[in-house]
């Protein structure tokens, strides 16, 4: 629609030159050093499996839901994990509603590769009845505010939502044990997902001058940079995925430097996610205790008489 194109945001030549010149002296326009991450804040909604992550000015929401479906024919004992990303026009006036554009698809694929193909989420534990019923986990990622580096923020949101999601417990019943009974959460406590490790995506920005290398670009820097690379690593030092689609050519030693940097950053981000999830779990447990005021207390006086 021409209406949208008429208001496409463009950075002026002066702004671009200022950013590039400042980077030559290792100064970024928001005052960070080249290898410094923005402040990450992870919040959770009241329901299980909903997270909101803020990385500087970037804001992403992750929602996890589960459904019982029939498994794929060639993988009858495995559950399914699918990621849906939609770039909401709320985040950036240049995002169009409707079909996801190429950057939305790329973001979804990077997160997919990091979570599913590295077997971070255990899909075999999602199987209830082989060949008939498995859990299909659906992760919806909503981009609320585009302040740059959507991949990293969306990845953290997806991980945080997965770690706090609880699926209902189900058991086999019926005459021949072929029926699946799903227990509602009030009767039986829902179960968390089995997550083996946390793959963290770290994005680097490259510029035409070889010595300039950035981590976690803001959206002003994204408009100026000439190449980007996203590495998905976990705290153990395993590389889960590397995505570098075109852009400036980079020598090998720079890539090695990036990977080493990514591993150290991944450790600190993993710790942040785990701390936030633990705080949520304690709060959830406290809420559960408050929900049962009818539980009878122990009468201490009687015991003393005995």
């Amino acid at each position: 629609m021409e209406g949208r194109l008429a208001n496409a945001w463009r950075l002026t030549v002066n702004d671009k030159n200022f950013i590039k010149t400042a980077l030559l002296s290792e100064i970024r326009i928001d005052g960070r050093k080249p290898f410094e991450y923005r402040k990450i804040s992870i919040k959770f909604g009241r329901q299980d499996g909903s997270s909101e992550v803020q990385l500087g000015q970037t804001r992403v929401m992750g929602i996890v839901t589960a459904q019982l479906v029939q498994p794929y024919r060639d993988r009858p004992k495995e559950g399914m994990l699918s990621i849906f990303t939609e770039f909401s026009p709320m985040a950036d006036p240049s995002f169009e509603p409707g079909r996801p554009g190429e950057s939305a698809v790329e973001l979804g694929r990077i997160i997919n590769r990091g979570l599913r193909e590295s077997r971070a989420v255990d899909t075999e534990s999602l199987c209830i009845l082989a060949g008939k019923f498995v859990w299909a986990i659906r992760i919806d990622i909503h981009i609320l505010d585009n302040g740059g580096n959507l991949v990293d923020a969306a990845n953290i949101a997806a991980l945080a939502a997965l770690l706090t999601f609880r699926r209902p417990e189900c058991s086999l019943g019926g005459e021949d044990g072929q029926e699946v009974i799903v227990h509602p959460p009030e009767i039986r406590e829902p179960l968390p997902l089995m997550v083996h490790h946390l793959p963290i995506a770290i994005t680097f920005g490259f510029f035409s001058n070889e010595s300039i290398l950035l981590i976690d670009p803001t959206h002003n820097e994204e408009a100026v940079m000439s190449g980007r690379m996203t590495t998905t690593v976990n705290a153990n030092g395993d590389i889960c995925a590397i995505q570098k689609g075109g852009g400036e050519g980079i020598p090998q030693r720079v890539i090695m430097q990036c990977l080493q940097l990514a591993t150290s950053k991944a450790a600190s981000i993993t710790k942040q996610i785990k701390d936030a999830v633990e705080a949520f779990n304690t709060e959830r447990a406290l809420r559960k205790i408050k929900r049962h005021p009818t539980s009878t207390g122990v009468d201490v006086r009687e015991k003393q008489n005995q």
Partner: protein
């Protein structure tokens, strides 16, 4: 006839309201509105040049995009978009910026009953945050009729499912006029008695409907006060310059 509501509220009690403005950086105006556990985020992008094909170019046009929490966009979302668009068109002054499109985006964060009213309230606050010229604000409330004939306000999702019928009502906010002749009136009645939008589900008798309107109107004054307090507080805090 007393009714026992699960969260211990009385018939006419609303859930705790929370609202914050200016939460997103790229959007020109944004607001988050929560009633109890229902939470909605609204963002507004100010007037852009041009209108869509079938719209009148002599007036400003409002475009609404509704994003559900999970799942595909279906007919329900399209219906909500249409209701929201028509409601907002009646409160905005459309002749100020002709041949422009103002986009309002709604993102559902959590749905625990009274979703459409929360979205309308959030959209209103976001429009104020963006500085879009409006005649007055809209306050929205959900009233439902139980099988016993009792009317309760602001249901949760469980309550909504058990009710015989419910209605989403939108009223103009109450006016505090500084003019000596008092607030403007239409045909002798004060402006806040008018109804902007009414969407009903289920069957209810005419008397029940009028009773809902009365209750809704009474609650809308409370909501108007909350809105006014909230807007006055935050306008002294920050400005969006730069």
């Amino acid at each position: 006839m007393e009714i026992d509501r699960e969260d211990g509220r009385s018939q006419n009690q609303l859930r705790p309201l929370a609202c914050s403005r200016n939460i997103l950086h790229r959007a020109h105006g944004s607001a988050s509105w929560s009633q109890g556990d229902t939470k909605v985020l609204a963002a507004v992008y100010g007037p852009k040049a041009g209108t869509k094909k079938n719209e009148n170019p002599e007036k400003a046009c409002i475009e609404v995009i509704w994003k559900p929490k999970t799942g595909q966009i279906g007919k329900l979302e399209k219906e909500y978009e249409m209701i929201l668009k028509r409601t907002l068109q009646s409160i905005c002054i459309l002749t100020v910026n002709p041949n422009t499109t103002t986009s309002v985006m709604i993102q559902v964060v959590n749905d625990d009953g009274a979703l459409l009213p929360s979205a309308i309230n959030a959209a209103c606050m976001a429009l104020v945050d963006a500085g879009i010229p409006m005649r007055h604000l809209a306050v929205s409330i959900c009233c439902c009729v139980a099988r016993s004939g009792l009317v309760i306000l602001d249901p949760t999702k469980l309550e909504e499912q058990k009710m015989k019928a419910f209605a989403y009502l939108v009223f103009p906010n109450s006016v505090h006029s500084v003019l000596p002749e008092g607030s403007p009136s239409v045909q002798g009645e004060p402006i806040e008695n008018g109804i902007i939008t009414s969407v009903t589900h289920g069957t209810m008798s005419v008397d029940d409907y009028f009773y809902c309107l009365e209750r809704g109107r009474a609650a809308s004054t409370k909501l108007s006060d909350f809105l006014r307090r909230n807007l006055q507080q935050q306008s002294t805090n920050s400005s969006k310059a730069g």
